[in-house]
């Protein structure tokens, strides 16, 4: 017995450190009672991503309790949705890249747009795409673009191909992930950023090996550009905003003045899982967050790019003058689409990139 226990204990050690990222927060509320007028709304989303005032105001106005539980990774919400999350949650945050699979898989409830007039009235038409409109409401969004330090960066960056020039060696910091890196390479090569063609993905891999040689580190881009480790970064606009504000009057960072290459735009959006119990309150909540004043107040705490035009117009001067959102090619964008089984091809080349074939 002791032998067996020791063996198991040692084997457990092997897995314990791999399991660090697998946080699975439990819902804070439990009530799933089928009710006529719901008094409870269970939301699963990123932590520290919505104003507490917004939540408490909504609770007061609708005489209900909102239970928030938090994801630690985009995959968390996919796991929940595909496992059938309707018993536990009424609204789940996910991102646009997964929408096609979620709709095809039948994991989502269709939305009743008559109940969410604010969403239709205020969200810019450019940010509804395809069938998604029937199943989701965009919350906030993020651009993935290039920012560089005008004083320290050896060259001016105007397109993705500038990033693989030899002068940029040891200058670049980047966000990580196959589906963030490959689209950039595919565009640089003139292909569809969501290509499922293996030979194109392979070429993109070759492009990325050159990019990889110039990269100092993946992750922590904003800290690294502020503390002087890098002079150029592929990053989210929220990170750039943090870095520019951190540097304050000494800010020499600028958003790369791209002339033709599009930049990636991603959405964090709310969906209603199939079989959700409190769909009436879920619709009320979606409508509530699309009210211009409500979202404008939310943007004070969470100054990210917002698809709600009326809210942006009503937002504070500080938000509207944030240099991280001040660039003129905001509509020259591409979306990360669901590439289905081609994800495995991306993964294979991503691994080769990081292993250094």
């Amino acid at each position: 017995m002791k032998k067996a226990l020791t063996l198991i204990l040692a084997l457990t050690l092997a897995l314990s450190l791999c399991a660090c990222g697998g946080g699975d927060p439990k819902p804070t509320g439990s009530g799933n009672e089928p009710s006529a007028a719901s008094s409870e709304l269970n939301i699963f989303m990123w932590g520290d991503y919505i104003s507490e005032t917004l939540i408490s105001d909504f609770e007061k106005a609708n005489n209900c309790t909102v239970n928030l539980s938090y994801m630690s990774d985009n995959a968390d919400s996919i796991t929940k949705l595909t496992a059938g999350a309707g018993d536990s949650y009424d609204l789940i945050m996910t991102c646009d890249a997964y929408m096609e699979s979620l709709i095809k898989g039948g994991y989502l409830e269709q939305l009743d747009h008559e109940q969410i007039p604010n969403a239709d009235a205020n969200i810019n038409e450019a940010y509804w795409f395809g069938d998604n409109r029937d199943y989701c409401v965009p919350y906030l969004m993020n651009y993935i673009y290039i920012v560089y330090d005008t004083e320290r960066c050896p060259i001016d960056i105007t397109c993705y191909n500038d990033l693989i020039r030899p002068e940029m060696a040891g200058q670049i910091g980047s966000i990580d992930g196959a589906r963030n890196l490959f689209p950039m390479a595919l565009i640089a090569l003139g292909y569809d950023p969501n290509s499922t063609n293996e030979s194109e993905i392979k070429e993109a891999y070759e492009w990325l090996t050159k990019f990889n040689e110039n990269v100092v580190a993946y992750g922590a881009t904003q800290e690294n550009i502020v503390n002087g480790t890098i002079s150029c970064m592929l990053t989210y606009d929220g990170n750039a905003s943090w870095a520019m504000n951190e540097l304050g009057e000494n800010n020499t960072l600028t958003i790369a003045p791209f002339t033709s290459d599009p930049v990636q735009l991603g959405f964090d959006l709310f969906v209603v899982p199939k079989g959700a119990k409190h769909t009436d309150l879920a619709h009320k909540f979606l409508n509530y967050i699309c009210e211009p004043e409500v979202m404008a107040a939310n943007l004070v705490d969470f100054p990210y790019s917002c698809p709600n035009d009326a809210a942006v117009a009503a937002a504070s001067d500080a938000y509207r003058n944030d240099p991280a959102f001040d660039f003129d090619y905001k509509t020259n964008i591409f979306f990360q689409k669901d590439v289905g089984d081609a994800l495995a091809i991306y993964d294979q080349y991503y691994q080769m990139l990081k292993v250094g074939e």
């Binding site: 032998k3 226990l5 198991i8 040692a10 993946y218 922590a220 993964d347 990081k354 074939e357």
Partner: protein, 294 residues
Amino acid sequence: MLKREGTRRGKKRHSRLPLLAQAGPVSLWMILFVTIPMLFIIYISFMTRGTFGGVEYVFSTDSYQTLLDVVYFKVIAKSFQVAVVTTVLCLLVGYPFAYYIARKPPEVASRLIMLIMIPFWTNSLMRLNAWMLLFQANGPVNHALMALGLTAEPIKFIYTDWLVMLGLITNMLPFAVLPMYSSIEKLQKSMLEASADLGAKPSVTFLRVTLPLTFPGIFSAIILTFIPALGIYTVTDMLGGGKVLYIGNIIKNQFGAIRNWPLGAALSVLLLAITALLIFIYMRFAKLEDMEVV
């Protein structure tokens, strides 16, 4: 007659109770939270990847066939390399340290042990961030070096192998020191004296008496540092800049962004197999019971 029977039975039941009370909870715990999940991991490693994520319960050996790809071999080789270097350095740093502690009076020794444990009261990510802040271009270490005139330009410490090693060793050192300490502490002084009396030089005594007698502790230290070091990826990601993938990264990615749970499970099974092999090798050398897991 009957009465006596009753008492005997009562006694018998009584004598089983302590064993059940001692081993019961831990066995239940291990079965529920270790054995069953582990069996489940093995089970899903033989299933099919769901198109929209998750697992389709259709038997397949695809995941294991994927593992034959040379890229995984390279990843495992790199992971091994890091784990071996970490383990060797932990032993080299940890053994003298454990020896030093073991030779101190008990109250001093317990304080020294406490000092090793204190950093572990904070989250490991916090500790890694602290290393980053200390060593970054405009961090205190570089400021100090420049103030002392030792360097004119900030030295690039972060995202170097050097810092990754420092992070790994500080993360793993207690797992190496504690079992070796417990082994060295048990070492009888009379043995060393006998060796000296018989004319052995201190170096000979160390190599032929101390080292063999503390071998169980050393091997425990090897197992306890090597296995976690094999699966670790947070240290290399944060201090190394995430430019290299290790087996831990790949497993994490399969369960996360890539949504290929069967492959992630198959990689985990591979890691388990490697670990089991190590334990097996150990069992050839010594009894498992001798393993000095404090």
